[in-house]
């Protein structure tokens, strides 16, 4: 067996199959790892808007408006984030799909599941040891996974948008509302996914057990929901809402159309994507500098 000449040549990158931020083998492996979850969520988000709008259409608009505007107490409006009069429209009713647990929880589950698999997952399983025995930068492993997770999130919201677009164009409310109105709401879902994945990956970068990372992130998510609720419902404690990342997840406010919706999206996704990307950057630094315990 002969020695590869590039090893003894003294090149600083000798043997490394990738650079500081990228590794092709890790990219394809990450797609393999996330394939099952990706396909499951794609199926869910492909079907959900059709099912949701078909079920919603079973209640005629006048009856819905009557319940929303006459029966429900007015102060509950604080919870919806938009006036009930806006909810009681076709666009408003479609927008409710984006705050339905099927969308919100699926986006969160995606973020936590994929983010927690960045470092503490393979560290827990012991597979990181063999991977990092190769001349691969830790930052490249971390950021390549982040890129694959983000690309898959983009695919998922693409499926969601396609499904919403098709049901709004062809479903029971066809012609009542323009499908393009829902693009900002879908992009807000993407922002939430990147934000949760980034924070989870950052926690994972500092942790050694995936179950603990998932636990921490579930706690963080519940705290974010509570902070948002407290901020909404309590006047004196309104500032608490600003502590919640979910304060920037308001897809129901983004379906009004026009430049206002896009400028609001820029603010919301600026916050969500900004936090997500900062968390990824912090995670890459933490992972690059920390000691890695031997597999147990």
């Amino acid at each position: 067996m002969s020695m590869p000449h590039d090893v003894d040549a003294g090149g600083r990158q000798a043997g490394a199959a990738g650079g500081r931020f990228w590794n092709g083998a890790v990219w394809w492996k990450t797609w393999g790892d996330q394939k099952v979850l990706l396909l499951s969520l794609a199926a869910l988000w492909g079907a959900f808007p059709w099912l949701y709008i078909w079920l919603s259409a079973q209640i005629e608009m006048p009856a819905f408006q009557n319940v929303l505007l006459e029966v429900i107490p007015k102060n509950w409006q604080k919870l919806s984030g938009v006036p009930f009069s806006e909810v009681a429209t076709y666009a408003g009713r479609v927008a409710l799909a984006f705050v339905d647990p099927v969308v919100v929880l699926a986006a969160t589950v995606w973020g936590i599941t994929r983010g927690s698999d960045a470092v503490s997952g393979p560290l827990d399983r012991g597979t990181l040891e063999m991977l990092l025995a190769a001349p691969v930068r830790r930052s490249a492993v971390f950021l390549t996974q982040a890129a694959a997770t983000t690309a898959a999130a983009a695919l998922l919201v693409g499926v969601l948008l396609a499904s919403v677009w098709s049901v709004v164009s062809l479903g029971p409310w066809a012609g009542r509302v323009e499908p393009v109105r829902f693009v900002p709401a879908v992009l807000n879902v993407f922002g939430l996914m990147v934000c949760m994945a980034g924070i989870s990956a950052c926690v994972s970068a500092a942790d050694s057990h995936r179950w603990r990372t998932v636990g921490i992130m579930c706690g963080f998510y519940v705290a974010a929901i509570l902070a948002k609720l407290v901020g909404r419902l309590s006047g004196p404690l309104g500032w608490v809402g600003y502590l919640s990342v979910l304060n920037a997840y308001e897809p129901q406010r983004l379906v009004g159309g026009g430049p206002e919706a896009w400028s609001l999206l820029a603010r919301y996704d600026g916050i969500l994507l900004g936090i997500g990307l900062l968390a990824y950057a912090a995670g890459a630094v933490i992972f690059s500098r920390r000691d890695l315990p031997a597999p147990l």
Binding site: M1, S2, A14, N23, A25, R125, G126, A134, P135, V136
Partner: protein, 294 residues
């Protein structure tokens, strides 16, 4: 020297997993690292490869510093962890493809040949492989990587005797190809059989270092005499250790050639005599018997 450490230390709070470890490993040798669990072998190897940052001291591999240049070190090293865990959803072929894609020094065809020699069925999913099969798969990826230094942490653990033999043959072939192999093991016989040099670790330190050639020169002579032992003649002082055993018994230990001693031995009033090589076990026991000084 391909590996050189000087006072390399890794502390976790007040506990020193590696305590001022100084070691030189010459290029082209098979170097054995011995010691009980917790002696610091794995910590030493993982510190050299950059998994752990040393608390103090220095460590270099092929001239590259383990604190600042671990990427360069890993480009010149192939490492088998103590417990090699692989991607459970892939099959054996997928794992070997992955490592061949991950680093260009890992030769996919060579990995297939190693797997074949180890009798491994690569079509099976890793999650359905036994511990020994996973170990063979990891060995195929590691031993097919053409780099100057191969580090194997307990490579034969979990393997059947046939596979152990094949692994030791592969280690010797790696040396014949000009590579250095550093391996830790608890099986002293295979270390003695394969290595050129060994270091024995204790409590994070290198307690002893010896070449196997020196070890093979060492002999122990158990003698029962019909009269009291007259003592070691002046010409052998410093080259022959005499350890009395009872009134008429003596154990003589030497690292020198035996021939010059035989004439003197013949003059002793011998009732019984037995000559045996010192062996690695005896050397190891000097440092790791419960009564050995700490």
């Amino acid at each position: 020297m391909i590996v050189r450490t000087a006072a390399l230390t890794k502390r976790y709070g007040s506990f020193a997993a590696l305590d001022g470890c100084s070691l030189d490993v010459p290029a082209g040798e098979i170097f054995g690292l011995l010691g009980p669990n917790g002696a610091g072998k794995t910590t030493l190897l993982r510190t050299l490869l950059g998994y752990l940052t040393p608390t103090s001291g220095t460590g270099t591999v092929a001239g590259y510093d383990c604190r600042r240049e671990s990427l360069e070190i890993r480009a010149r090293t192939s490492y088998l962890p103590g417990e090699a865990r692989l991607f459970r959803r892939m099959n054996g072929h997928g794992v070997l493809d992955f490592f061949a894609r991950l680093r260009r020094e890992c030769r996919r065809d060579a990995a297939a040949r190693v797997a074949d020699r180890l009798g491994l069925d690569c079509s099976r999913q890793v999650g359905r492989m036994s511990t020994g099969m996973r170990q063979k798969l990891a060995l195929a990826a590691v031993l097919a990587t053409e780099v100057p230094l191969v580090i194997l942490d307990e490579p034969t653990a979990n393997l059947d005797p046939t596979a152990r033999g094949v692994v030791l043959d592969l280690v010797r072939e790696a040396r014949a190809a000009g590579r250095t192999v550093m391996f830790s093991s608890h099986v002293l016989s295979e270390v003695e059989e394969t290595c050129d040099r060994v270091a024995i670790m204790r409590a994070g330190k290198i307690a002893h270092e010896q070449s196997i050639d020196d070890l093979r020169r060492g002999h122990r002579i158990h003698a029962e005499l019909r009269a009291p032992f007259p003592g070691v003649p002046a010409e052998f002082t410093g080259r022959l250790a005499a350890l009395p055993r009872g009134d008429r018994g003596v154990v003589l230990e030497t690292d020198e050639p035996l021939a010059p001693l035989l004439g003197w031995l013949a003059t002793l009033p011998l009732a019984e005599v037995r000559v045996e090589p010192v062996g690695l076990q005896a050397v190891y026991d000097r440092f790791h018997r419960p009564e050995s000084p700490r």
